[in-house]
């Protein structure tokens, strides 16, 4: 990355060095002129979209180079490059930044208010952030990039992005759920000798599988069967959607008079409203929020459900997907990728990244606190896919289930273990959650999922 190119000492941070010097030379006149110049109007939305999506640094660079003359003269080339690098670092960390933002940042640098990092940071933050999670992450990234604080960490973050084609991978979780996404990258490396988060998850998973595996192995034998099952899961999700939508249309009956159109049409009848124009109430489609347990104990089923999840998010107009383990990650964005294998791979990677053990209660608490208000409305069914083996406190789980119950229309708990012979929901976590569940159903095979559909249609 660019960091290495510029020697940095704590006293002369690049900001002070470049801009400060420039301003001292150019004096007040320059600063004023740059303020008085009309702002470059933002390029059309499409252009921004493109640059942001491709993240093409050279393209970005080029257009910054060719920005306003006044800005050009006020800010040296190295500074512009640093800024481009900063924009790229932010983008790597899931910020959605287009050309317009970078150009505005240049305008800011040239203005007299940008006097040193302490004044520039809040300005850049307001400019570059778009969501709460951006907001939380921003200070760390800014300090690391411009002031060299925590450089080791910072390099880890950007290192992670350059190694793997992870920019896309990293973006999905960090975009919505930054506080979860970013530390992940960091921890993974800090751990040192193999005690990384990923390693842990695998180990924990493996030991549990040994206990659980023998009973269910027959379901997952041959790769062809697996592929077929996955395809079926996707199709099933789409079928569910189709049925649900038809039901809604048959139900539409709320009507109001559309005065504007009625009057307009009445003109030719001398003001007598002969043609009445009606408006219909828009019915909100059912929204499905799926919380998938990706812990070690669920390992056998995870791939299968991830595929189902993708089908659901793909097919439902309104669906949100979360994966939990010891922590909760919002994964809808990465599930929207049309390329199934890529989406599923990405998600499997994420699922591995989340440490060992299952903390259903804590994950639900995180969901209730940070996401529920946004993703749940009155026509929302929450589907929790988990075996109920919780390593946290059952009381916490019960509390959070009660909260969730109040918010949403239905809670469906799919438990793959129900399909096993002689299963009874005796796990402590399961016991705690049971009173708040509307439908407790098996989900060990495709028929059991298909059996859900009529139920969902009735909600």
């Amino acid at each position: 990355m660019k960091q290495e190119t510029y020697p940095r000492s704590p006293l002369t941070s690049p900001l002070e060095g470049e801009v400060g010097a420039q301003r001292r030379e150019g004096g007040k006149q320059q600063a004023i002129s740059s303020q008085a110049t009309p702002l470059p109007s933002p390029p059309p939305q499409g252009g921004r979209e493109h640059a942001a999506a491709s993240g093409d640094a050279s393209l970005l660079h080029h257009s910054i180079e060719s920005a306003d003359g006044a800005i050009e003269s006020a800010i040296g080339r190295p500074m512009r490059q640093r800024l481009t690098g900063f924009a790229r670092t932010l983008r790597d960390n899931g910020f959605k930044i287009g050309l317009a933002e970078t150009r505005d940042a240049l305008v800011l640098l040239a203005s007299p208010a940008a006097d040193g990092p302490s004044r520039l940071k809040p300005a850049f933050r307001a400019l570059f952030c778009a969501t709460r999670s951006d907001w939380d992450k921003f200070d760390g990234i800014f300090d690391a990039y411009w002031l060299g604080h925590g450089m080791r960490q910072m390099r880890l973050v950007s290192g992670a992005t350059s190694q793997v084609p992870v920019r896309r991978l990293g973006r999905a979780p960090s975009m919505q759920q930054g506080s979860l996404g970013q530390p992940d990258h960091v921890q993974r490396r800090d751990g040192g000798e193999g005690t990384t988060a990923t390693g842990n998850a695998r180990r924990e998973g493996a030991s549990r599988i040994d206990n659980l595996a023998s009973a269910d192995m027959r379901h997952v034998v041959d790769p062809d069967d697996i592929a077929q099952a996955h395809a079926l899961a996707g199709r099933l999700a789409r079928v569910m959607r189709a049925r649900l939508v038809r039901r809604q249309q048959a139900r539409r009956n709320g009507r109001w008079l559309d005065l504007r159109r009625t009057i307009h049409r009445s003109v030719s009848h001398g003001g007598t409203p002969v043609d009445l124009v009606w408006r219909r109430r828009k019915i909100r489609p059912l929204r499905l929020v799926v919380l998938l347990d990706a812990s070690g104990s669920m390992n056998l089923y995870t791939a299968f459900f991830v595929r189902f999840l993708h089908g659901v998010v793909d097919a439902f107009r309104e669906a949100e997907a979360f994966v939990f383990h010891t922590r909760l990650a919002h994964v809808s964005a990465s599930m929207r990728d049309r390329d199934v294998t890529r989406a599923v791979d990405r998600l499997s990677l994420m699922a591995q990244g989340i440490g060992g053990g299952t903390k259903i209660g804590e994950s639900l608490a995180a969901f209730n606190r940070w996401h529920a208000r946004r993703v749940i409305h009155s026509r929302t069914a929450v589907m929790i896919v988990s075996d109920g083996y919780d390593t946290g406190e059952p009381e916490l789980l019960a509390n959070e289930m009660r909260r969730l119950r109040r918010r949403c229309r239905r809670i469906i708990w799919l438990n793959p273990l129900i399909g096993w012979r002689d299963y009874s929901p005796s796990a402590r976590g399961m016991q705690a959650a049971l009173p708040y569940i509307d439908l407790f159903a098996p989900a060990h095979n495709l028929e059991s999922l298909a059996a859900l559909e009529p139920y969902l249609a009735r909600i």
Partner: protein, 291 residues
Amino acid sequence: MTLDRDVISDRLTAVGYIADRDIATALWLMETLQRPLLLEGEAGVGKTEVAKALAAVHDAELIRLQCYEGLDQNAALYEWNYQRQLLAIKTREGQEADAIEEHIFSERYLLERPLLAAIRRDKPPVLLIDEVDRADEEFEAFLLELLSDFQVSIPELGTIKATSIPRVVLTSNGTRELSDALRRRCLYHYIDFPDIDREARIIAIRTPGIDIALALQIARMVAAVRKEDLRKVPGVAETLDWAATLAGLGVHDLRQDPEAVHETMMCLIKTQEDRARMTREVSERLLGKVA
């Protein structure tokens, strides 16, 4: 006219809004870059107040559009005055339909709604689009168009261009995810609950005649209450209510009258469940910690 950041900060204080440094920066950026500002934060942290203060700072009119589910162009942009139109049609009976139509779809029969009003003022007003997350996605898309072009087309009348570009403040409570397009169009500021010092200053400035020591105690107490596991965390407005109540009761020191403190805490607590949780013991424990 572009104000310096410090000037904005000073003027905010002068109009009774105690700003943190960053919000002044955001407001200054709004001026400099001419972008709308999107404010997010818990309910009750004073998002709407920012817009009011901004209007006062610039001595501009505040035009407010409260969003709700099902908000459409009729309510947000413009509406025809149907009663007058019907009357006009009646009185002109016998004339040609085209002529009538031209007459009744003229400016005289147009009712301005907030968005149209905001772009037709001579002096740039502050346009507050409150709780934009409550409106439908379609409306959001429409808003986006208005915010980038600042012109409105009315099919019967033609295109109306903005005579002045309003300063736009949007607030969101996070009940729905806003589109990336809208987010990218806006500057962003996340407002947190004020820290104790700031809240004490807010109390002092908004509650006439209150003791600064009491204001500080109240702020500490409220900060402690916010840390409790409540369903509805009290906002700044609730704090002010409580401060006014205590001041009205003639309380000068929270310690002196724990009874009154507990009794009046219903100003802060807004649900049955929280009320049950905030028992006398809890309130006394909190009081012991802060006062």
